[in-house]
């Protein structure tokens, strides 16, 4: 309590912080970025280890005897798929039944808000087929799910074949303690969403689905298979979920341990894991999770990894031994490589250092507001300070949020009128409307001031900046908790801008820097950077088209899967940025 109650020490500390405010902010920023970069190095990363005792040493099979048969089934599936022109529901039902599973189907349909050009679909109708292998010796309270998406064309046929082969193999074993559900879903993630919603009796995204007739217990874990060809050269682990959720680290470690045992190359996010640490691993983990969802079993409390692999029987066996939900290992982690991870205690301080900058700025503004320059005339200190006009602070707040709401609602609502008047397709209309509203927001400060009668007092921009800085700190903090990568990237670009913008900076240069650091330009830059990381650099036109498609995917993901990135950016980050834009042009 000493600091809070002793007035002399407080005053000294506050004086120090206000005098050295700018240097401390700069040091914190550099320290934050350096800390993050250093996360790839030895002292910060820990070797991965299995936390859950139930998944420890057990008997595991090293061979899968029915591999050839699985390939044959895969080819049969491909033939039937081509003949049916979609998902061969009857053949799948018959095949699963012949393998001794309880088979059920589920129909679903969804109309997208606007046509999806990447996957070329608008009105989606499909059927999911799933078979349940009941546990012979245990009550049916828990389940594991194996899925293989049924993709159009020639992709993923081997995965379905493998799935059916595994069903046959598992049927002959007697040690299963949990129900195993083999699911073949159509239209990948939409079908998966429909199945999960039907399984858990929720309806959050507006998909129409028929209720599920058959059900297992609560889902403990899920594995999704995707096989691109008959010959496997490496295994790729895809971990990120919707809204930045991650599966339990145990699941990833288990998978990696088996790969090492068998001697197959394992990659994470498409990059081979580097045994010696260098900064490359770190940049890979900086990848933004603003793109499409990977797995959203995580929303329903079970964990999924997507793999391209065929010897994960061992993984299923280990999962069979789980006595309770995966909870021992970490849920908040970053993986620079498959054998090392960074826990939340090590990566949060990097973000914390950036957030401290905002708090220091807020403290500085508070002190400036609380102690007006005292002009002693006639020996009496002038204590009458003009209280800040509430209206002049409230107006930019309201207008910025209204613009954000417009950015959120208008693109989809007005795509029909846009298509009528301009020669563009619907998805282009949506994206271009979004960009147009975003750019129109830049013209706001002039209109805001026209609405205000009288001139703004010198103090008022400080009050507005205080509110904006605290708003940004809280917003970035909440985002970093849910999705660290997104929060950190937003913080990297927005914090320096927030800290140093005042109406007294040179207008043109600051305006230019602000536009460069705004969320849309950050996204554009990240698209190019990501392509570079994948080692497929693109030209400017291709990059721009990719940027447009990222925006349309973001809007679609929000309405289809409940992803929060688009509402967050449109309703919160963008108005916050607009507040600072208002402050820059304060008259």
């Amino acid at each position: 309590m000493g600091l809070l109650s002793d007035p002399n020490r407080r005053r000294a500390l506050i004086n120090l912080l206000t005098r050295l405010n700018a240097p401390i902010c700069a040091v914190c920023y550099i320290a934050g970025v350096a800390w993050f970069m250093g996360l790839a190095f030895e002292p910060f990363t820990l070797r991965t280890y299995m936390s859950e005792n139930a998944m420890g040493s057990t008997m595991v099979e090293e061979r899968f005897p029915a591999g050839e048969r699985a390939l044959a089934t895969g080819r049969e599936f491909a033939a039937h798929k081509k003949r049916a022109g979609g998902m061969p529901v009857d053949w799948l039902v018959k095949t699963m039944q012949s393998r001794g599973l309880e088979v059920f189907t589920q129909k679903f349909s969804r109309t997208l808000p606007f046509p999806d050009e990447n996957k070329e679909r608008y009105m989606v109708k499909g059927t999911n087929v799933y078979g349940i292998l009941r546990a012979p010796r245990a009550p049916r309270t828990e389940a594991l799910v194996l899925t293989a998406p049924c993709s159009p064309g020639d992709d993923n046929n081997q995965a379905v074949g493998l799935l059916l082969g595994l069903a046959q193999y598992f049927r002959n074993q007697i040690y299963w303690a949990k129900d195993i559900i083999f699911l073949v879903n159509e239209h990948d993630l939409i079908g998966m969403q429909a199945w999960l919603e039907g399984y858990h009796h929720t309806n959050t995204t507006g998909i129409d689905w028929s209720p599920l007739q058959g059900r297992g217990g609560s889902i403990q874990a899920a594995l999704s298979l995707e096989l691109s060809s008959d010959i496997i050269t490496s295994l790729d682990l895809v971990l990120e979920g919707l809204n930045g959720q991650l599966p339990n680290l145990d699941l990833a470690n288990l998978f990696y341990a088996f790969c090492q045992k068998i001697g197959v190359t394992c990659t994470i996010q498409g990059k081979p894991c580097c045994p010696d640490h260098d900064a490359d691993g770190n940049e890979a983990s900086q990848r933004p999770t603003m793109g499409g969802p990977r797995a959203f079993f995580t929303c329903h409390h079970c964990w999924q990894v997507r793999t391209n692999d065929f010897s994960f029987i061992n993984q299923i066996l280990k999962l069979n031994n789980l006595l309770e939900r995966l909870h021992q290992s970490y849920f908040f982690y970053l993986m620079p490589s498959l054998s090392h991870f960074v826990s939340i205690g090590y990566y949060m301080p990097a973000f914390g250092l950036l957030a401290v900058i905002l708090l220091l700025r807020a403290l500085d503004l508070w002190v400036q507001l609380a102690t007006p320059p005292v002009r002693t005339e006639d020996g009496i200190a002038d204590l009458e300070q003009s209280s800040p006009e509430v209206l002049s602070v409230l107006t930019p707040l309201v207008i910025s949020h209204l613009t954000g709401a417009a950015l959120y609602f208008f693109p989809i609502q007005f795509q029909a009128t846009a298509v009528e008047h301009f020669p563009v397709s619907e998805s282009e209309a949506v994206v271009l409307t979004a960009i147009a509203i975003y750019t129109a927001g830049l013209a706001l400060p002039h209109n805001t001031h026209r609405l205000l009668s009288g001139e703004g007092v010198e103090q008022d921009w400080r009050v507005l900046k205080l509110i904006a800085v605290l708003y940004m700190a809280v917003l970035l903090g909440c985002t970093a908790l849910i999705n660290f990568s997104l929060g950190f990237i937003l913080a990297l670009t927005l914090v320096p801008m927030a800290a140093f913008i005042t109406p007294h900076r040179p207008k043109v240069l600051s305006a230019f820097i602000m536009v460069i650091l705004s969320p849309a330009c950050t996204l554009l830059f990240l698209v190019f950077f990501f392509q570079d990381l994948q080692e497929i650099p693109v030209s400017f036109e291709d990059g721009w088209m990719l940027f447009l498609s990222v925006i349309s995917q973001g809007i679609l993901d929000h309405s289809l899967y409940g992803s929060l990135v688009y509402p967050l950016i449109a309703l919160m980050v963008y108005p916050c940025w607009l507040l600072f834009w208002n402050i820059l042009f304060w008259k």
């Binding site: 809070l4 109650s5 002793d6 007035p7 002399n8 407080r10 959720q245 991650l246 995580t298 929303c299 409390h301 939900r325 909870h327 849920f331 908040f332 708090l359 807020a362 403290l363 508070w366 204590l383 605290l470 700190a473 809280v474 917003l475 903090g477 909440c478 908790l481 849910i482």
Partner: protein, 435 residues
Amino acid sequence: MAAPLTVVLIVAVTVRACLFRSSLADLIAERVEVVSPLNAWKRVVEGLALLDLGVSPYSGDVFHETPLIIYLFHFLVDYAEITFMLADVITAVALYYAVQDYNTQVLRQQKFALEAERLPLDSLELIRSPRQMYYIPLKVAMVYLLNPFTVLSCVAKSTCGLNNAIVALFILSTIKKNALLSAIFLALSTYQSIYPVTLCAPAVLYLLQRQYIPVNVRWASFWWFLLQYAFMYLGSLFVIICLSFFLLGSWDYLPSVYGFILSVPDLTPNIGLFWYFFAEMFEHFRLFFLCVFQINVFFYTIPLSIKLKEHPVFLIFMQLAVISIFKSYPTVGDIALYMSFLPVWSHLHRFLRNIFLVSCVLLACSALFPVLWHLWIYSGSANSNFYYAITLLFNVAQILLVSDYFYAFLRREHHLTYGLYLKRKDGSEATLVLK
């Protein structure tokens, strides 16, 4: 002043009506920060359904509100939204008139002190002028009505709004010197949730002060008034309890309501301090810790009353704050009630020391509550420790806020007695330090 108040009322009612009609109403009604097992609307509806079936509404450990509430809603269930909006309006108007009367009292006392020359010369800048205090009642009403916590509580149809209305009417009748009504409303609010019994002390102190009876155990009139007030209070409480018995025909409401409040069997997470402790505690020690936690709410009454016996309205504020922080099932509606008093003490602004820290922490915690709840319950990544950390931080910030205002109040009183610029015995400048 009626016109601005009416405008504020209309704006508040519009905001609530819009939210009632939107899809957010259901979402808000499920938030644990806004509703608790005591005052959730869902439970009132369950109780009404049980009553309609002829079964006691207290069977099955679902409904924990008092019989008077259930009979009120038996007739008003179709107009529930209007009832809650009306409760908020009544609270705001009651607080408005109460604070207006209180300000008149304060100005009068200040005038007497000035005329009697009891104030040292250099503390004259601490004197408040009628112009400064003119807008305070309107600000109090505005802060209560437009506080996001109040709006959320109203939209969730939590019966906390009704409890706040009763407490506000109690405060109004106390300040208007009406001892009978004050006792009746206090009995009603004690009947609703036990904790307002601690507001007896400030009510008695205020009424004694207004009747110019010194608070001294040797004076017969002190004991006579105390006896009168106790009689009125206990009498009304007795009448209300017997009425509840006759309404439902049984005494099951006593263990269901008061037993529930005192023994805290339901450990649903909320913004209070009880749930986590009792979830991890051994059964062996449960009674001991229960007593410790419950005594904590009542404990501060005596020392605070002794210190603040000249300032009973500030004592009411402190008591309301202590109740909201330490009660067994707090919600944000309770916090909104004591926060609406903050404009009354706006003249203490220059002595407040931690207001920046407190506001930042309160703001951050209010934003982090839903985030960590989502991470814990829906994503399964976090766990109860994360949520309780934010709860603890939130309560620490509230305690810091209340103690800061207490310090500022006492410091101002000290300056009014000893002067603003303090000097040590040898004439050098001194500063006040709270040790």
